[in-house]
Symmetry: C2
Subunit: 575 residues, 2 copies
């Protein structure tokens, strides 16, 4: 059985516990959400002593299953007020799993203002004073800790935004090349970590593939098949592998679903300037990398390393970030995108939410659309903790409230990613209904709406979107529990060999006889648990909705509105 690393910050004790039997077949999101449900009072203050930060590798993390090293981070979100799971690539999931640690639970709150770091290795866990790291950006913290504990350790950390309890602060960890910016960005879990006064977690092991596997041969065979599935799929084997996620920029723009100028239009004339193709060209020309693996054993390598004009490196620039800090602000300067991305990474903010917030501030006239330098200037205020900087760190809904703006693209308090719900209605259903708030990964209907993966559902029509989102939300909850990167979904949707291969890996690792039906049940169970937490926290059907303007305002160029009503949306969880 695995271990739980429980860090009680009230008593300042870090100890390893046996994993309770009931958690033995849970991992990743399934485990973080279950522990949050079991241990966190749904009505607690997210930044108070009763919330907990739960970190878990996926079921397959730490094995040689390709692309299986996603790290899940969970808790009650200070942004949405509901349950939250955000996950990221990087090395720490594999390292935790290699140490046999199934979950880290950080609870309580110290009575002093001191900061700590948690160090865990095969020898055990320690809580170490870390006041010297307080106030430092994530780049510096990671550099310092890699020097202190060795180049091979994994580092989970927060930036000053998390320390300052900003509701959009993320939790980051490092990749195999020491880049510190693999963010579990959404929903403010960095502020939860900050509220516990834990600045960093050092996972001290060189191993990435040390998780125990019961039937190694069967596992290897399945992993080979699954690797092949990923390599031969046109998206995971070709598109993502050549240009990374930002290959979506031109595609989403062409289809008229690219939120431009704070979701006022679906087409940005200069989208090409911040596209994956352009990014690859500039990165390579400057000696960076157009493709890069965020974790050992990934075959998609959709990440990148972008050298900036000032000599620093931004790694990676994802589609969502390029959109949020590009077209959403009418900014067509990729170097500005990189600069804004870098600042977010360093101070510790979610880039999607930051882009949404800056869009709202531009709508409010605080700074002009298209003025990248002005955006850099206000974003730098976050680290300085000025009132405007703190507003930015508090997210789009807060900024809308402060500046009297009703045109705020958010659901359940969380800013919306780069696919407008009026021109990619399947994603609109996901944004409205996901227990996570507006989250594209929670039910990525872009698959069937735009990429024609797993069939085709017209993105401009309401027909079929509820069913599409439902199935994707269930599948995603299951995938997020395995530690597999969500992009494996393309293969799962289009290649009949892919899902059986995943199940075969799970069965081989844990000695099970799971079926596809069991995977579906796992996904459903995760969603039910999350929704029940939210219900107890005070969420109702009224929260499963989009802002009024999506229903009222036509979205160019297709001039569509979001027309899937509350009754239809309520059918998403009809399972």
């Amino acid at each position: 059985m695995g271990k739980i690393l429980r860090v009680n910050m009230s008593d300042r004790v870090a100890r390893l516990e046996e994993l309770p039997e009931k958690y033995s077949l849970l991992g990743g999101r399934a485990l973080t959400s279950q522990i949050v449900f079991d241990e966190v009072p749904p009505d607690c203050n997210p930044l108070g002593p009763f919330n907990k930060l739960v970190i878990a590798p996926g079921l397959l993390s730490g094995t040689t299953a390709p692309s299986s090293g996603r790290l899940s981070v969970g808790g009650k979100s200070p942004l949405t007020g509901g349950i939250k799971e955000a996950n990221a690539g990087g090395v720490t999931s594999q390292k935790l799993a290699s140490l046999g640690i199934k979950a880290v639970i950080i609870e309580g709150r110290p009575s002093t203002d001191d900061w700590y770091l948690v160090k865990v290795s095969a020898a055990g866990a320690d809580l170490i004073p870390a006041n010297d790291l307080a106030g430092k950006g994530t780049y510096e913290v990671t550099t310092v800790l890699l020097e202190r504990y060795g180049k091979e350790v994994g580092i989970i950390t927060i930036g000053p935004a998390g320390e300052m309890l900003m509701a959009t602060a993320g939790v980051t960890n490092n990749d195999n090349d020491g880049n510190s910016s693999r963010y579990a960005g959404r929903g403010g879990l960095g502020a939860v970590m900050g509220s516990k006064h834990v600045k960093a977690i050092v996972v001290d092991t060189v191993e990435h593939f040390g998780a125990r596997v019961k039937d190694v041969e069967q596992f290897r065979a399945a992993a080979r098949i699954f690797t092949e599935c990923l390599r031969k799929h046109p998206i995971t084997g070709n598109g993502l592998a050549a240009y990374g996620t930002d290959i979506l920029m031109n595609i989403v723009n062409e289809i008229g679903a690219l939120p431009t100028r704070n979701f006022h239009s679906g087409h940005f004339d200069q989208a090409r300037e911040v596209s994956g193709e352009k990014l690859a060209e500039v990165a390579v020309a400057r000696g960076g990398k157009a493709t890069h693996s965020c974790m050992p054993g990934c075959v998609m390598h959709c990440s990148n390393i972008y050298p900036m004009p000032d000599g620093k490196v931004c790694a990676p620039i994802e589609y969502e970030t390029a959109w949020a800090l590009g077209p959403n602000l009418e900014n067509a300067n990729l170097d500005i995108v990189a600069k804004l991305n870098y600042i977010c990474n360093d101070v510790g903010l979610d880039t999607i939410e930051t882009g949404c917030t800056l869009g709202v501030l531009m709508d409010a006239g605080v700074l002009p659309f298209g003025d990248g330098e002005a955006a850099v200037k206000v974003l730098e205020e976050v680290g300085k903790a000025t009132p405007l900087g703190r507003i930015i760190g508090s997210g789009s809904v807060c900024a809308g409230k402060v500046f009297g703006i009703t045109h705020v693209p958010a659901a359940k308090g969380q800013g919306m990613p780069g696919y407008d719900p009026r021109a990619c209605k399947g994603n609109g259903v996901t944004y409205a209904t996901s227990p996570m708030g507006a989250d594209h990964t929670a039910g990525y209907a872009v698959t069937a709406n735009i990429l024609r993966s797993g069939g085709y559902v017209d993105p401009l029509k309401s027909d079929g979107q509820v069913e599409l989102s439902r199935n994707l939300q269930i599948a995603t909850a299951a995938i997020d529990s395995t530690g597999l990167c969500l992009f494996v979904a393309f293969a799962v949707l289009d290649d009949p060999e892919a899902l059986p291969a995943i199940i075969a890996m799970l069965n081989a690792q844990y000695g099970l006889q799971m079926t596809a039906e069991d995977v579906t049940k796992l996904g459903q169970q995760v969603l039910r648990t999350e929704r029940e937490f939210n219900r107890l926290a005070g969420f109702t059907g009224a929260d499963d909705s989009l802002p009024e303007f999506f229903v009222l305002e036509e979205f160019p160029p297709h001039n569509t509105r979001f027309d899937i009503d509350a009754k239809e949306l309520s059918q998403v969880f009809n399972f």
Copy 2:
């Protein structure tokens, strides 16, 4: 039958309609809440086109019933997200009622940025361009409009805070002496008015007592009895009449329930310096008034006129304001209280919420506790629309979110008035459960907890508080529907002649045979309607709660906590 003045700002048409029969026996809060329930979609954006601002005189307003000129203002609150009614003294309730107008409904939203005023007289209603008034403070607006339309008109207006859609902006109206600061302050209804681009409503009549009364003789007889009840009660006839509401300062302080330093303690050493006794002394010495009637026909005259050192006048300074801007900020300087009050009045902010917000900002270290000059300086930023100014205008919960403060005294998003729920537990029950959010007037348990009016319930114990709050909330909903000042409750609670006299006035005016039971039923019906609106807007039992710190942190000097749990609180609406 009376009229409804319906102002459609989308079409820019103001017209008088016949009052629907179903509304004929509703007034004040009963009418605003019913119209909001009937006409406003509970899930709408409070600052969007679907919300409506509803203004209504009480059932007895415009008659010679003493102290019956409260004006109710209702809508969906941008602060709480739920239904809201806030009421105020002043002359406009009596004037509207004298014109036969039972309600004003402002709906829609103009497509341009132009501002308007609504003018209503016996000759009809007009919508008049008012761009010249935009951006002006309420003092200047009132002065300008009194000059333009005559000294006898009633003026309902908002300040720049309402224009800027700040969630704590109030709606004000003038008293008989031209003072413009009779605020329906709570819950941001000024922002709703601002969202409609209506800067002011001019009620053009000299009459205050022109409402139709069916049986004048019977009415006069009942009004005489009721007047006598108010005059002979020690609180309404003596305490309030001598020192105004701020007579409470020393009383609440002595009992240890005076929230001091952002609700960290219940006793303020220098409370006397901002007490009603001190206020009366200074006001009289400077040529102001220690007592003053906020409306014609009031026998309690608990208002005051406070001349400030700069030659301006603040009228009135209420207990709640003196507490919010005094002890809550550890400010013992009455002139600073007056200055802060004056700025709030002029820019158009709720003073209670502003005090709570400044307390939170002081807790966050944005400015020091006790530094009145610093408080004036930051409050002046509201009118300048700086980021910090806008945060202040957005209320205490927003400020807490922005600055990462969990010690925010608020319920349902609304800041808490000047009685700590740990040392005046009946008010705590009201704060937690009222459909209005933290509102002392919604169920003023100070009566039995502190003033021993209507019996005595130990303020430090949980026993009896739910029943006390329930009965007061029901009675208050009924009183708020009559247009009577809530302070008549003291007489109603202690003098067996008072309630029959109120009922006799209503019966005489409308030709009814109402009983005391009918009054209770009216109050219950109002609460049911409001709670149903909130339920449809997404509120649940989880919203009927107080912030965690009231349960966790002991409150000096009695070191009590709020210990009435969710199950007990859920019994408040068990009727």
